[in-house]
Symmetry: C2
Subunit: 148 residues, 2 copies
Amino acid sequence: MTHSNPRLEQILHRLRERDFRLTPQRLAVLRILVESKEHPTVDQIYEQVRRDFPMVSRATIYKTANLLKSLGEALEVGVLDGRSRYDGNKPYPHPHVICTRCKKIIDFEGLPTTDLVREVIEKTGFQVETHQIDFFGTCPQCCEAEQN
Amino acid sequence: MTHSNPRLEQILHRLRERDFRLTPQRLAVLRILVESKEHPTVDQIYEQVRRDFPMVSRATIYKTANLLKSLGEALEVGVLDGRSRYDGNKPYPHPHVICTRCKKIIDFEGLPTTDLVREVIEKTGFQVETHQIDFFGTCPQCCEAEQN
DNA sequence: TTTCGTGCAAACATTTTGCAAAATC
DNA sequence: GATTTTGCAAAATGTTTGCACGAAA
């Protein structure tokens, strides 16, 4: 048995609280979502879960991802490439920096997002619930690769 | 004949420059993109163009939108609702504030995006090419409506 | 007259849905 | 045992593509 992850425990607790059932497939998806930093697509999660559960279907992955999103326990990240990516590590919104060449997505904590949100609320009167801040470009490794 | 729009003229100039042809359908799409502030979806553009050109097809709208995007003359805005929206007013990236209730999307200029981009470049080494900064929530009008 | 753009239909890709069987609680 | 979840297939949605015809330069 792998060692436990506090974030995973937290989600499991929330699920039990609301009388959602814990199936092996669901647990597998949860593990991937909380453990991976790669903001995986549904298909990537599917392929990984399939190693342990060859009969799993994509529908299950979609349903689990949507459940977690609706519970506020996973974040959907849109990268304008026609497929959704999910982040179960940090269920709060945070900026990403995305390499359009190698498709790598990294979290970027170094921005005063709280201040930005406050600014928007003050100036627009919106009741801001979430946000998405993403920067697109070429990562240092790919920049170098392009020189060749 | 409606009065001319400098932004439209600019795009027309760029098209001519690169030997793209000016068809009535294309012009209609261009007009809508530069004149509307609503960040319309392909379908919304299609319905509007169809009033003047009943035989127009969605493919033409898609092709025109993609052409403009590739020329850097229109911005694709992803709102995580599974369809793309386009902005031909300001071809440079800028923050949006989006009402998740009435789907309104407004531009928001009041953020130091240049500084944010510089910060990201400095701290990540990425060659940042574009960005997407969007805030989601409820607009003042919809907030009020929810009280009832 | 040459080349490009349009419109149609088919193809694709992603996500959602309905439902019977299986699993959880 | 009651109810939820799964897996499958079909459907729904959004977007792209191939191609013949028509239009722009």
